[in-house]
Subunit: 394 residues, 2 copies
């Protein structure tokens, strides 16, 4: 690939990852459904309430019998909430009834307990009620067949509550895109290791894994390759068996030991430079039918590459809303290098967006202190304090 | 407890749950740290970069030797990124060097490869560079001892990246409050069961569990009790052994079979009415030193009770920011019952906040369709379209 703009590379990546967006679904139990994305409309299999029941603790009556109050009615029994034999109402009598208990056939109102006095098998009712008062009719909340939740809903507790209330045990949700991660570089070692001169701790694996998970996808593997193309190819072959997308870091620029470039060029991969900073060197490939995005190796470049190229596509595939850019004023004036789109690490403050580091790409601590990327177009070289800029929330 | 206002009950609950807010910490591996809340400040144990290294693929030189260009220097070797024996620079010579590789002692600049031509063991340099150019000094990103992340940070991928880059394997995070849930009611059965007359599906257990998890706490158990106080007491005793907080649903109002009230009154629990709708009947207790919040049994009342009373305290204890109320205009006029603070289920629309149901508390489907609660003060009976109202985001 020749040098290209950020927008061109975004389009290229979007086309490459189009297959991710096929809406695959899986059933999960309600206990695992929090935060998942509904894969299809859900209609109620039942009426809610399931049966005609009392909205109050009180007495089930027929309204006709208490038109004149006080009225004294014989009490035929007590109906608690819970499994019961269906009772039948006899006009002119009452059942003591609890909230949620089935109303006897033929009764049409409930008199709340506070409007009654009970003595010796009888209830004295001091206030008249209309037919229907304090009666929850079957299906008055939801009729069987009603659309409960629409496809695409991100399931929160209140959604799970209604699914449980209609008796569902499982719910169809979008499958999470499965992502494999391969970091490269002979200099990388695990945290906790004793470093030899020239070695550094590998932060890209865990950073990419966390980014993937934070955007609704699943990490199927994290591997690390040294500078041997055969080792990388083997790890990549393993990764493509289980993943819908492979992300790699490092080995894509112009040095002598560019393992990703060396391993993938013969497989039809494209490497080149995107006119952005950080994150200029980029590659893409399709291996065994699986799209592969090759990010550069610097930890900040990796995170910016993920935000700019991978995050939108992963969220789209996961069914999550995209993170939309915002316009915010700059706290202080900034200058930018001409010809390159800059993604400057910055944070929101009361006086506007404030840079946390310069354009250099290696300041991983500053990346952690940032909460937005300021997106500076290639042709812009100076921006004044107070000027509105486009920012990408992190 | 006598009838009390929402604010009074909130204060009562906050006092009861004060012990939850003791900032307990635990160490988790970075792979499990996403979304967790940092329990203490983290300072860097090392300098970053860990060693002086090259920012470019090119040639490591001393700037003095290339003051006049073109300059032709003998190439003493290649330094790749990765474990290496430290090299020493000889003035007037060069090492070919890769991005991230250690710069030889005595070299002070890197000439990018694009400003060079290599022939026969020699490099011809066509552009002069100052001392320090393309050299990343040890500690130029972070010095050992620098504050990397402050206590209270909610860990995102970029935070985890910097923790990994400085070689940390674990990170101290706030322990999640441990919550046990007990639903009550002889009418409740599991989803998937065949219902007998009078039975309904238990949605409160999964709804409360999802609500707890969505707010940074952990669910240690979900149990269900029938109407036998001894059964409830046994489940409660089990719950308090493992939980920092117990939430119950049902059995708190004025009927004949109020299992929570019956079981807890002798243990010093307080039951009464909060001037709100839905969610009026409320109870609280402390059992074996563990606070217990007793919500009513209706599924909507349970969710509203959780949002109004439990959510703020659980989020505070988890170290998460509180969900602040917003002011939004009403899409249509509404009326409200005097004397009760109403929490009306509503959703955001382009023309304002629109109710999804009336004040009745049993409409669980409407709860699922809502994304805010409109908080209507007790003394307000009518609100006009366009009027600003306080809403609680769900």
């Amino acid at each position: 690939m020749t040098a290209r703009s950020v927008e061109d590379h975004r389009r290229h990546v979007a086309a490459l990852l189009a297959a991710l967006h096929t809406r695959h679904a899986e059933d999960v139990s309600l206990g695992d459904a929090l935060g998942r994305v509904l894969a299809s409309d859900v209609h109620s299999p039942v009426d809610l309430p399931l049966f005609r029941n009392s909205q109050m603790d009180g007495y089930a009556v027929d309204a006709a019998s208490i038109r004149v109050v006080p009225a004294v009615l014989p009490v035929r029994g007590v109906i608690a909430a819970g499994p019961v034999d269906p009772a039948s109402h006899v006009p002119g009598t009452a059942y003591r009834i609890m909230t949620g208990a089935p109303i006897p056939d033929g009764a049409d109102a409930v008199v709340p307990v506070e409007d009654t006095e009970t003595t010796d098998g009888q209830v004295r009712i001091t206030r008249a009620r209309h037919a229907g008062e304090y009666v929850r009719e079957r299906g008055s909340d939801v009729l069987a067949g009603t659309l409960l939740l629409a496809s695409g809903e991100i399931l929160a507790a209140r959604h799970i509550a209604v699914l449980a209330a209609v008796g569902l045990q499982h719910v169809p949700v979008r499958t999470r895109p499965r992502v494999a991660i391969i970091t490269t570089g002979a200099e990388l070692v695990d945290a906790g290791s004793t470093l030899k001169p020239g070695e550094i701790f590998d932060s890209n694996g865990i950073a990419l894994a966390s980014s993937v998970r934070a955007n609704g996808a699943e990490v199927v593997s994290i591997a690390r390759s040294g500078d041997d193309p055969a080792e990388f190819q083997k790890l990549l072959a393993e990764a493509t068996t289980a993943a819908d997308l492979v992300l790699t870091s490092g080995g894509v620029s112009m040095g002598d030991f560019e393992v990703v470039r060396d391993a993938l060029t013969s497989l039809g991969a494209e490497f080149g430079h995107v006119a952005m900073q950080p994150g200029g060197p980029q590659g893409t490939a399709v291996v065994d039918g699986v799209p592969v995005l090759n990010f550069p190796g610097n930890p900040v470049s990796v995170l910016v590459s993920f935000e700019v190229f991978a995050r939108p596509e992963i969220r789209r595939a996961a069914g999550l809303p995209l993170i939309e850019p915002e316009e915010l004023p700059l706290a202080t004036a900034i200058t930018s290098i001409p010809g390159k789109r800059q993604f400057l690490r910055a944070r929101r403050t009361d006086s506007g967006v404030e840079l946390v580091s310069g354009p250099g790409s290696h300041l991983v601590a500053a990346m952690a202190w940032a909460d937005v990327l300021v997106d500076v177009p290639p042709d812009v070289t100076t921006l004044d304090a107070g000027q509105l800029v486009k920012v990408i929330p992190l």
